[in-house]
Amino acid sequence: MSENGPSVREATTGPPYRLHAHAPEVSARRARSFGSWYYAEHVLRSMQGYRWTLLASSVGTPVMYLFAMGVGLATLVDRNAGSAFGGVSYLAFIAPALLASATIMTAATEFTYPVMDGFKWRRVYYGPHASPLGTGQIVNGHVLAITARLTATTIIYFLIVAAFGASPSATGAAVIPVAVLSGLAFGLPLMAYSASVEEDKGQFALVMRFIVTPMFLFSGTFFPLDTLPVFLQWIGWISPLWHGTELGRLLTYGQAIPPWLTVVHVLYLVVLAVVGLRLARTVYARRLGR
């Protein structure tokens, strides 16, 4: 956001050394046009307080996982796997999955407790709600800020993946927007749910334990989904992580996927994100406007 705003300051009457706020009409007009960005700016400023923690975890998580799974476990797997992983090394196979799951897990954290904080604990949403911003802009702004945060984390993750030599394909970097989209596909419906939670009775811990963890384990993350018994494969089919991972594998090492399935993967993620956002806007409007 430019500090000077999109246009010149209006209505500065009086002596030059004493500035005045522009007219309310100008505030309203600007809020209508740029409100989402204003709120995103606020959330990002608040996140700055945690920048070192965020950076440390953004670097630490990929390094840890890639060493443990991609280097440690991979030496054993690669010795016995044959062509089970589409002819690529185990490291290359799991790297896009680890990357997408890291983004989704970050999204799972960002779209739960901070939402509760906004409505209940510190009631952060009620400040902007009394300003010219609309509820839709508060939702959009929060989503924009989290998207920026997810993008930054995912870029760092990808750079480390690339440094490990785990993204041989030239299209590898395109996995970044795919992972962010997967994060939103999971995060936005979760945001709508979080906004509907009146009291924290451990629901978010349950989401982590019984949705995020099984999704992480059974979405074709560590082994191809079709090696699972059919009665468990549905977890992958509904999981944004599986769709994101499959697209990631296409981009980082050219995994063979029929084109129609590629379209399904993208569509599934987009639909989840869009429906989630609309739901979130409805729930926010209802709860803030009570």
């Binding site: 500090e3 300051r9 309310p24 809020a31 700016e41 510190r122 400040g127 709600h129 406007g289």
Partner: protein
């Protein structure tokens, strides 16, 4: 913007109602507030004051009735209405992740105000709120009164002509309240229209030019504090305590003294023009209260008279 004394009201509510299911939180209230007035809604908790404030603030939809702020309906022109206002909510919602000064700046950004305005303005407001030396502190480090003053400073970042204050001093110690009243009084002097809710009669008496007494979502009376006391109470009140067991039984023996008698569980109130004279009558009947006190009538008495209940329970 110039304020014309005979100009149109800045706030106008007619038969304003808000229902939650069967509960009528606000039940057909009407009032108008001219520019520059300090207008209060006085009533106990749950009277519908905050709900009214949220409707005026353009953040809560009404069930029925008409409402305009600066001639605009908040439901059609939400951002425009809210751009005119400064809002001090009942519960602070400062961003505790941000420093004191940044809370002001971030808030000003919601109005699209540029940093070249916000930086000096934030410092000016911190000075006004007597928080200059806390500018770089985290919000957690502030006392309740300081947080409240910061919230008021924040509400002024867009230089609003109308300030909505919902229970501005609830939960503060007496000294912090007096500092806050002083700041609010200065705003009033500078021509800002104040709309405030309170369940403290002293606050209403200090700050309000005019007020409405609200109970169960309805307006019970309207006027200046002095006018309300004159119309609904006597000049003085004699408070007698006979011990909790006897207060109600002794009331019969007090009949005829003063203009009106109000037996409460903990004391008996006798409304009279001359409290001392009433006390003499009491003792001449051979009654010996444990304590007695003569005082001027207050808004508390007005409220008691109008609703049969006291404000703070």
């Amino acid at each position: 913007m110039l304020t014309h004394p005979a100009g149109p009201p800045v706030i106008s509510a007619q038969q304003l109602s808000k229902h939650y299911g069967d509960v009528k939180a606000v039940d057909g209230i009407s009032f108008e507030v001219p520019a520059g007035e300090s207008f209060g809604l006085l009533g106990p908790n749950g009277a519908g004051k905050s709900t009214t404030m949220r409707m005026i603030g353009g953040v809560s939809q009404r069930t029925s009735g008409r409402l305009t702020i600066m001639g605009l309906d908040p439901e059609d022109h939400g951002p425009e209405v809210r751009a005119h206002l400064g809002v001090v909510p009942q519960q602070d919602n400062l961003d505790e992740e941000l420093k004191v000064r940044d809370n002001l700046i971030v808030y000003g950004r919601y109005f699209g105000l540029p940093m070249s305005y916000l930086r000096p303005k934030a410092d000016e407001l911190l000075e006004f709120a007597q928080l200059t030396d806390k500018a770089g502190a985290k919000v957690d480090a502030l006392s309740g009164g300081m947080k409240r003053r910061l919230t008021i400073a924040r509400s002024l970042i867009n230089e609003p002509k109308i300030l909505l204050l919902d229970e501005p001093t609830t939960g503060l110690d007496p000294q912090a309240r007096h500092i806050l009243w002083d700041r609010l009084f200065r705003l009033k002097e500078s021509g800002v229209t104040l709309i405030l809710t309170t369940h403290y009669m002293d606050e209403a008496e200090q700050l309000c030019d005019r007020l409405v007494v609200v109970d169960e979502g309805r307006i019970m009376a309207e006027g200046s504090p002095a006018q309300l006391i004159r119309e609904h109470s006597t000049r003085e009140v004699l408070e007698l305590r006979f011990g909790s067991a006897r207060n109600t039984t002794v009331a019969d023996e007090l009949q005829g003294i003063g203009e009106r008698l109000e037996p409460l569980p903990d004391r008996v109130l006798i409304y009279a023009r001359d409290g001392e004279a009433a006390l003499e009558q009491v003792t001449s009947r051979g009654l010996k209260p444990i304590t007695s006190l003569v005082r001027r009538s207050s808004l508390e008495d007005v409220f008691l008279r109008l609703t049969g209940r006291s404000l703070v329970e």
